[in-house]
């Protein structure tokens, strides 16, 4: 006969206000096998845990049921307490009488009755629990960072500083990401390149960091501590080990009219190019869509001028296979396409631009060398209208429901900088709300509005109409003055919403990491585990988890690195012992289980069985690799002979719970 202990938590008044905890403890104390049943104000507190430990030792309990909050909250706490008292931690079951009882019912009698039933179900289950021991697996002490923007760079640098090797995989030919395209950064107005490029160089020079630029992750298998990734190194037609980045090839290339992505198509580059002057790695790439040699075999000028013979027209994609202990997603964001908002005439007029385009127009390395000029005629704009929340805080049909968080601040920055450089320019900002929570953010916005005389107008722009004289008629409403406005603008700047990178969804599927409806990666806990994905070994850095500005991105990136370092500094990881196992005597080797296993954890062995008549028979039976199995249980249901079962959630345990509830 097993001996069980039941511990009912008051959780202050959270449970005790609606559930008669004393009655629950008393009722459950009458259940067979229960030798001790008691209640306590805070079971998770130190004294509460000591109460459990003392009871385990005193009554030499075989199992423990705790009626408290959700197991998602304190299952580990109570398992640890049990282990400290010498009980196998998997002999603990929790009846969730807070989130799923006291908090959702008002009637005390009803709630008490339900708490007793939930307690009975937990007792029925724990009676069938078996002591489990978690297996151990080694940790590959190397991290993979996917995405080489500021988030990926900071995470990689911090991990490398701690002494672990890191690979950065970046899909573009250079690291740097969106931050490399920015001009100044709010609220201190330091130049983005001045603070970013030294970090990029640090990455290149750090012996623990390997930059795999112009590469994409194609496949990820394995589990925490033991991932294997296939990385496609796309052909750049330039030997990365030989190219010195001298730029001679780009000067001589005869194909001059290729839209320059780095300047968002506002100027041109050559078919062979280095994305920007401070690119890391500073290696040229030939664009096969434009190169005459690659398209029709005529030209070859670049290979003639290259002094080190780095040009290789026959280069092909290669696939690297590498092992990692931890993977960081730092895939960042894209501004949304604004052509769909016909009212802003983005597609009709060259002088309607996005904020990122504005950023390039004011950047010294941009298409106009930092002079603010209208893209259509190259004249200086005298009236500029900024429109906020383009696609943010919309209905789902019209755009994004969330706030993109950075637009209020960068618009204030753009407006302020414009007024500072060109005091003769009139600047209007149309906003729904100005949101400036952050250190020195509100002061910054007020400076823009008060000191720099930027006209902030609460209201919406209804239409932007290009006129014959080249100006733009901005029709808007001022909600505070309650009047219609017509502004004759030279330039209109749209603060486009940001959305997760298009590659994020495919990556999430590869990593089995979960995403929300907006394609942002979900964190393991929104407050307490903000940089980890619910999938063990996958970490989140930067905007791929939700909109954030640079200071927030960097702090999250460093937090993420700390978590990765914590994981990589372990030599062995204890796994989840709640895995599938097959009864070899019942298994008929049909392969149903292996065909539904998403992890490939099931293999087949030919095993000798000694039959009752003393003959030996060789049969094919399933065998589960406990280090790979994640414990979903798909195989247990697929098994026609009932040989496959799951530790911790066995068929008999779940049936016992069903019986206890239906009794």
């Amino acid at each position: 006969m097993q001996k069980l202990g039941v511990f009912v938590c008051h959780c202050g008044t959270n449970i005790a206000a609606t559930v008669d905890v004393k009655a629950v403890a008393e009722a459950l104390g009458r259940e067979p096998s229960v030798v001790v049943s008691t209640d306590y104000p805070y079971m998770c507190s130190e004294s509460g845990q000591n109460l459990i430990k003392d009871a385990i030792r005193e009554h030499s309990l075989d199992g423990v049921v705790i009626c408290s909050c959700s197991p998602r909250m304190h299952e580990n706490t109570f398992r640890k307490a049990a282990a400290q008292a010498g009980l196998n931690p998997y002999m603990v079951e929790i009846a969730n009488i807070r989130e799923q009882c006291s908090w959702i019912h008002k009637d005390r009698e009803e709630a008490t009755e339900k708490a007793i039933v939930l307690g009975r179900a937990a007792i029925a289950k724990v009676l069938l629990n078996t002591p489990l021991t978690a297996g151990e697996s080694p940790v590959t002490k190397r991290a993979l960072v996917i995405g080489g923007g500021i988030a990926g760079i900071q995470t990689a640098l911090d991990i490398a500083e701690a002494g672990f090797p890191v690979d950065i995989v970046e899909k573009e030919p250079t690291i740097g990401g969106k931050m490399a395209q920015l001009d100044k950064t709010f609220p201190t107005l330091d130049c983005a390149a001045c603070i970013l490029t030294p970090k990029m160089v640090d990455c290149a020079q750090n012996e623990n960091i390997r930059i795999l630029s112009f590469s994409e992750v194609e496949e990820v298998t394995g589990f925490v501590g033991n991932f294997t990734a296939k990385i496609r190194r796309k052909a750049r037609y330039v030997d990365e080990t030989k190219c010195t980045g001298c730029g001679l090839c780009t000067e001589k290339c005869p194909v001059k009219k290729v839209p320059n992505e780095f300047n968002l198509g506002m100027d041109n580059r050559r078919a062979v190019y280095i994305p920007f002057a401070q690119a890391v790695p500073k290696v040229a790439r030939i664009d096969p869509d434009w190169c005459n040699m690659l398209k029709n075999g005529k030209c070859g000028l670049c290979s003639k001028v290259c002094t080190v013979g780095a040009i290789d027209y026959k280069q092909t994609d290669t696939v690297l296979e590498e092992h990692y202990g931890a993977i960081v997603a730092a895939t960042g964001y894209e501004p949304i396409k604004v052509d769909r908002y016909g009212e802003y005439a983005y597609a009709q007029s060259k002088d309607v631009i996005t904020s990122l385009e504005f950023e390039r127009l004011t950047n010294a390395a941009g298409p106009t060398s930092g002079t603010l000029l209208r893209p259509s005629d190259g004249r200086h704009p005298h009236t500029i209208v900024f429109i906020q929340c383009v696609g943010s805080r919309c209905t789902p049909e019209m755009g994004k429901t969330y706030c993109s968080k950075i637009c209020c601040m960068y618009t204030a920055k753009h407006a302020m900088l414009t007024r500072e450089k060109y005091p003769d320019t009139d600047v209007y900002v149309f906003y729904i709300d100005v949101r400036t929570p952050g250190k020195n953010f509100d002061e910054f916005y007020r400076r823009a509005a008060e000191e720099y005389g930027v006209h902030y107008i609460k209201g919406a722009v209804g239409k932007v109409m290009p006129r014959a004289d080249g100006t733009l008629d901005v029709q808007a409403s001022d909600l505070i003055m309650n009047e219609q406005l017509h502004i004759n603008a030279d330039l209109v700047v749209l603060a486009a919403a940001i959305e997760p990178s298009k590659t994020a969804r495919r990556l999430a599927t590869m990593l089995t990491a979960s995403m929300d409806t907006n394609d942002f990666f979900t964190e393991a806990h929104p407050k307490l585990r903000p940089v980890e994905s619910p999938t063990a070994g996958i970490f989140l850095s930067g905007v791929c988890q939700g909109p954030k500005d640079i200071p927030e991105t960097v702090s999250q990136a460093s937090a993420c690195a700390a978590k990765v370092i914590g994981l990589l500094s372990k030599n062995k990881l204890t796994g989840n012992p709640c895995v599938a196992h097959s009864d070899e005597w019942m298994c008929n080797g049909c392969s149903n289980c292996a065909s539904v296993c998403p992890y490939g954890a099931i293999t087949y062995l030919d095993k000798d069985f000694r039959m009752p008549d003393r003959s030996t028979k060789t049969r094919r039976v399933a065998s589960v690799n406990p280090a790979v199995c994640q414990g979903c249980g798909a195989c247990t249901v697929a098994c026609p002979s009932g040989a496959m079962d799951l530790y911790g959630f066995s068929n008999s345990q779940i049936m016992a719970e069903v019986d206890a509830i239906c009794k």
């Binding site: 709630a111 619910p534 709640c578 798909a634 009794k663």
Partner: protein, 147 residues
């Protein structure tokens, strides 16, 4: 069969919830204090695909009046593909229950994410009301299990 003080029928409802989405969704509806009937009792399973159709039959046999199975939205399964298996298995089970003459409304599959506390409470309320309207489940109940 349970009745309340006014003599109205109170059905017994078993809810299977996957650990990663729906169980967390149920916790969220608790955190937000969203009420739903107390005759719904939740059983936590790692994934909706862990629910063997046998468990549902067992519940009916033991006197449950309704069984609801909740998992992550298709495509969002923590184990990548688990809820696709659930969807297929339950389609088969439903046609079998139909054949046995069990009302179609007594079993339901719902996708509730960890963020959908509101949806969880609404679903549970509507399901409990539907089962109450259907009345007690007699057809599959094992008389030997009667109290």
């Amino acid at each position: 069969m349970q009745v309340n003080e006014t003599g109205a029928f109170v059905p017994t409802v078993v809810a299977f919830c996957c650990n990663w989405c729906s169980y967390a969704g149920a916790d969220l509806s608790g955190t937000n204090r969203l009420q739903y009937p107390s005759n719904i009792k939740i059983i936590r399973v790692p994934c909706s695909c862990r629910v063997n159709p046998m468990f549902i039959l067992r519940a009916f046999q033991r006197g449950a009046d309704g069984v609801i199975l909740c998992g992550c939205h298709p495509g969002d399964c923590h184990y990548t593909t688990g809820n696709y298996y659930t969807r297929r298995r339950m389609t088969l089970l439903f046609s079998m229950l139909d054949y046995l003459g069990i009302e179609r409304e007594r079993t339901r599959v719902e996708w509730v994410s960890a963020a959908e506390g509101q949806k969880f409470a609404e679903t549970m309320k509507s399901f409990a009301a539907e089962i109450a309207a259907l009345g007690p489940n007699r057809r599959l109940e094992d008389l030997r299990c009667r109290k």
